[in-house]
């Protein structure tokens, strides 16, 4: 399966040139871009690990691309996403987020159904990858 979180997951994987143009857009809006990675892509896992801090005061996308490549060297078989933070009043949140790296195989999620009173069902989504310990999930 292919996880479709983030802004561009329905398009073919972005090339580095395309990623760089999106980063440049973010920087031009005055947003700080953060690199985040995880091997637990559960849809409610908000807090992916941070690769350093959000890059404040950056003007050129090349800086982000350099860090991204460093991150890929270490976590090349994990999910990596870029998130852009807007500090302006009324937003103060993420304004753009998209996946820039995926593991070779994406095993996806199991849906557990726990049948309870009446016809109710309690649902639990769990990542097949997360069955294994952190750091050893994608081989």
């Amino acid at each position: 399966m292919r996880i479709t979180q983030g802004c561009f997951s329905f398009l073919p994987d972005l090339t580095d040139e395309q990623i760089s143009r999106q980063v440049q857009y973010c920087l031009e809006q005055g947003w700080a871009v953060n690199i985040e990675f995880t091997d637990d892509p559960h849809p409610r896992n908000n807090f992916w690990e941070m690769w350093g801090l959000p890059m404040f005061d950056l003007r050129d996308a090349a800086g982000v691309m350099m860090e991204l490549n460093e991150c890929r060297k270490v976590y090349g078989n994990s999910y990596i996403r870029l998130s852009a933070f807007d500090s302006s009043h009324g937003w103060e949140s993420v304004r753009l987020s998209f996946i820039v790296n995926r593991p070779k195989e994406e095993p996806g999620f199991r849906l557990d159904r726990h049948e309870v009173a009446g016809r109710n069902i309690r649902y639990t989504t769990s990542s097949y990858a997360a069955d294994r310990p952190e750091g050893r999930r994608y081989g």
Partner: protein, 509 residues
């Protein structure tokens, strides 16, 4: 915003033309002292409801009415009557006024202008003291402003065009239960419009069949599906059946995509007790969102907004019924006023027009509605039908929803007209796809992502739109099919409601 903007209502002066410079706004005719309270009938303009010298206070609520007096009725008297009948007046002088601080409580019409290019119509600006209104109550606000005057015999027609709500009053309302920022954080979706679809056919599907449509659409790539306004609990589908099957669909699609999904479960019902019961069940099942219809009434809407805030629920409002009073230019209540009231009342989503789809919506007027929903400060923009500066005092932003007759081939126009913080709902444009519902959803999602990518890259996406879509369709057969099927579908009809003022190009200095 300059600090003094809050202090006075911004009443634009630039629009006065020579033709309009009448002596209409000249002087007060108010009778004072003992003579004011002589028994009998007195003209409203003499009773203190016409005060052309009055400078509205920063705490006043200001209403702008479009007044169409009956033939032979003085427009100033008609406007004063509107002020009177929407505040303290009755048809005759009453001595009991003298037991009160009557001058404070009288609404004051302070300006009357002829409407450009509309003979017989006048814009009346009326100021109301804050003490005339109960805190945090749309029911009270609306009962005061539109409660009594719309059937007044000396008027042919009356329309409430816009309102300036002082910060002092705005702060007494909860506002959107969730708001755009938190909704995006909860849904984990940033940087693009959200996508939805209304389940079709509107009526007749069993719970199980209904859930099928929800599953297919969500799995195909939509973020939300939606009950229609009249899907409540009918013989063909009891509400509990719908909720149970829909949540199976949502969870299954979530696991299949790794994305958060939602379906607006319509909890509209005959009583508040029934609505609370349905909302509680939606919560118990883990839904992220519920839905109500405008026809449940302002108080019920505010109650559900408070419930939604307490229960971490996004609250979708379908504006069912609004066109009965918002659509005609001369009579009723403009939708921009309804949008303001709903932002105060506390809903998170509101249908606000598509411009290009099948339902009424002139681009400039629609832009005005969207600004009212999404901005923290609205400067007066007559060309968008926004008459007053409005400060929202950090009240949450309200997500506009574009729904009705839109399809993937219009993606560039939709993004251009409506921006990024909007929910695009393709009902027929998803479910009617020749390759099935999932394909329809995928077509919309691919079209959207391709357009956002292009916009962010700095491309002239509005003009290159068709090209961008064609390119994206090369690697997406469903999009190719969607573009083919709906390529010629447009809805070009004349709008029945549009701004009265158009910007005049000026010579650059």
């Amino acid at each position: 915003m300059p600090p003094n903007e809050l202090m006075t209502a911004s009443i634009p002066t630039s629009r006065r033309t020579q033709h309009e410079e009448t002596n209409m706004n000249q002087h007060s005719m108010t009778i004072h002292g003992k003579d004011r309270y002589k028994s009998g009938v007195m003209e409203y303009k003499k009773m203190g409801y016409w005060e052309p010298d009055y400078a509205p206070k920063d705490t006043d609520i200001i209403a702008l009415f479009r007044v169409t007096p009956q033939d032979g009725v003085d427009p100033v008297e008609a406007s004063a009557a509107v002020a009177g009948e929407s505040s303290t007046a009755t048809w005759t002088v009453v001595w009991t006024d003298r037991l009160t601080a009557a001058e404070k409580y009288r609404a004051k019409c302070f300006r009357v202008d002829p409407v450009p290019n509309s003979p017989g119509q006048y814009f009346a600006y009326i100021a109301y003291d804050l003490d005339l209104f109960e805190s945090g109550s749309i029911a009270n606000l609306s009962a005061s402003i539109i409660g009594n005057v719309f059937g007044f015999k000396p008027l042919k027609a009356l329309r409430l065009e816009d309102m300036r709500l002082p910060v002092a009053y705005v702060k007494t309302f909860q506002g959107p239960a969730t708001g755009i920022v938190v909704e995006r954080e909860r849904m984990d979706k940033f940087g693009r419009p959200l996508l939805g679809a209304t389940v079709k056919p509107k009526l007749g599907l069993s719970g199980r069949n209904y859930g099928r449509v929800v599953y297919e659409a969500l799995k195909g790539g939509l973020d939300f599906t939606k009950d229609d306004e009249n899907i409540n609990s009918q013989p063909f589908m009891h509400w509990r059946e719908r909720f149970l099957y829909c949540m199976e669909a949502v969870n299954k699609a979530q696991a299949a995509s790794g994305e958060i999904k939602g379906t607006y479960l319509n909890v509209t019902a005959g009583t508040m007790e029934d609505m609370y019961e349905r909302a509680e069940f939606a919560k118990e099942l883990g839904s992220v969102i519920i839905m109500i219809d405008l026809v449940i009434g302002y108080t019920a809407i505010q109650s559900m907004a408070k419930w939604a805030r307490r229960n971490d629920m996004i609250l979708h409002l379908h504006r069912a019924g609004h066109s009965t009073y918002t659509r005609q230019r001369s009579h009723g209540v403009s939708f921009r006023v309804i949008a303001k009231w709903m932002r105060l009342a506390g809903v998170d989503h509101i249908h606000a027009g598509t411009v290009v789809g099948k339902l009424e919506g002139d681009p400039a007027t629609t832009r005005g509605y969207y600004d009212i929903c999404r901005e923290d400060y609205n400067p007066a923009r007559l060309e968008h039908g926004v008459f007053f500066d409005q400060h929202w005092a950090s009240l949450n932003k309200l997500m506009p929803v574009a729904s009705g007759g839109i399809h993937a081939g219009q993606m560039h126009q939709l993004l251009d007209h409506l921006g990024e913080d909007v929910i695009l709902q393709f009902g027929g444009g998803t479910i009617g796809h020749p390759m099935g519902i999932q394909a329809g959803a995928t077509a919309n999602r691919v079209a959207l992502e391709a357009m956002i990518l292009a916009r962010n890259e700095g491309r002239d996406y509005l003009h290159e739109g068709p090209e961008i879509l064609a390119k994206a369709a090369e690697t997406c057969t469903p999009l190719k099919a969607a573009l083919e099927v709906w390529k010629d579908v447009t809805f070009n009809y004349e709008s029945t409601d549009m701004p009265d003022y158009v910007p005049t190009p000026s010579v650059a200095m």
